[in-house]
Symmetry: C2
Subunit: 204 residues, 2 copies
């Protein structure tokens, strides 16, 4: 009886109003060139994969950012995924403004010219996606840029391993909106497209 | 000397071609009604937050899915975030098709009519976002639906706590593309909009 009551309480909901509560969000460092060819980096958590073919990613930026102007000008950007070791730099890229300081000089990280698109990537970060802007969607405070991935690069040292998937070698950051903390990726829980078969096969 | 060489090797890159390597991606269960009012659920990892004001989320679905037709018809959906406990159900929602089976009957989860939009949410999942479709963007294999969040609900038992942020109470899943595994959220690494100040304040 008390078990049922506890379950009932557990399943009660409270409304928090119109709020973007999505967990987890990624930590994506977006790099661009300005009209003088100076590299810039900013951190965005509003973004992700949006199409498999053509391979596309989406990032949302505010119009007030230096990167927004660069993106409108160059129609190119890179997404750079920091490992845990670079949490300080990733956070700095999110709070500093290119209008006031040279973010690459300040962090000491290396901006490398991309092979295909007109944007720099961060050499020290383990994953770099070269993207060409194919759509720009005005949403309100944020503008969403859809980038077609022209090339994905990873550190030479990262190899496909059965006992250590790529994500465990990359050690990407997770951002928690609301409480605004960075987290590490935790333990592997299950194999996707597999564990659900236990329900699919269930007779009832 | 050998240290420098090691660093050099570490920073060499290899190209994997045009590929959407984004880590982490979320595990979002999208719920809709069909034209007869039957609830459906499917799992999407291609999505995330795309605007703060109005609060918007994006999800990308293939045209072949049952949910795609429902979304085109109802222009409404919910995003439901499963906790680790529901990894089996979340995976099942991603591999089964509504054309062949009633996913709610099979999992035993509860489809509750939303308060504001014409879509059901999953009572047992700790976070539910009621969304109204405001833009539909054709990208290729996937179509991106932008939903304005009309209301966010969380379990009554989840409270703001200094020592345990909401994400640690929700225990959301992380999906790793490529190796296709589910992960838990790991340890807290740093406070966002804070740790980067150590670089911002640096004199050089």
């Amino acid at each position: 009886m008390s078990t049922d009551n506890n379950l009932e309480v557990k399943l009660m909901k409270k409304s928090l109003g119109a709020k973007t509560l999505v967990y987890p969000t990624p930590v994506l460092v977006v790099c661009t060139y300005d009209n003088e060819g100076n590299p810039n980096a900013m951190t965005a958590a509003w973004g992700g994969i949006c199409c498999s073919s053509p391979p596309c990613v989406a990032i949302s930026l505010r119009k007030a950012t230096y990167s927004y102007s660069n993106l409108m000008l160059k129609k190119a950007f890179t997404i750079n995924i920091p490992s845990e070791n670079y949490v300080k730099e990733a956070d700095y890229f999110g709070i500093a403004s290119r209008n006031k300081e040279d973010k690459f000089a300040k962090t000491g990280l290396s901006a490398v010219k991309s092979d295909i698109v007109d944007a720099p990537y961060i050499r020290e970060f383990p994953v770099n996606l070269e993207c060409k802007v194919i759509q720009i969607i005005e949403l309100g405070l944020h503008t969403q840029f859809i980038g077609e991935v022209m090339d994905a690069k990873i550190d030479e040292t990262i190899q496909e391993k059965v006992d250590q998937p790529i994500i465990e070698q990359i050690k990407p950051l997770i951002f928690a909106p609301d409480s605004r903390n960075y987290y590490a990726v935790g333990n592997q829980i299950a194999q996707a497209f597999s564990i659900g078969n236990e329900i699919k096969g269930k007779m009832f």
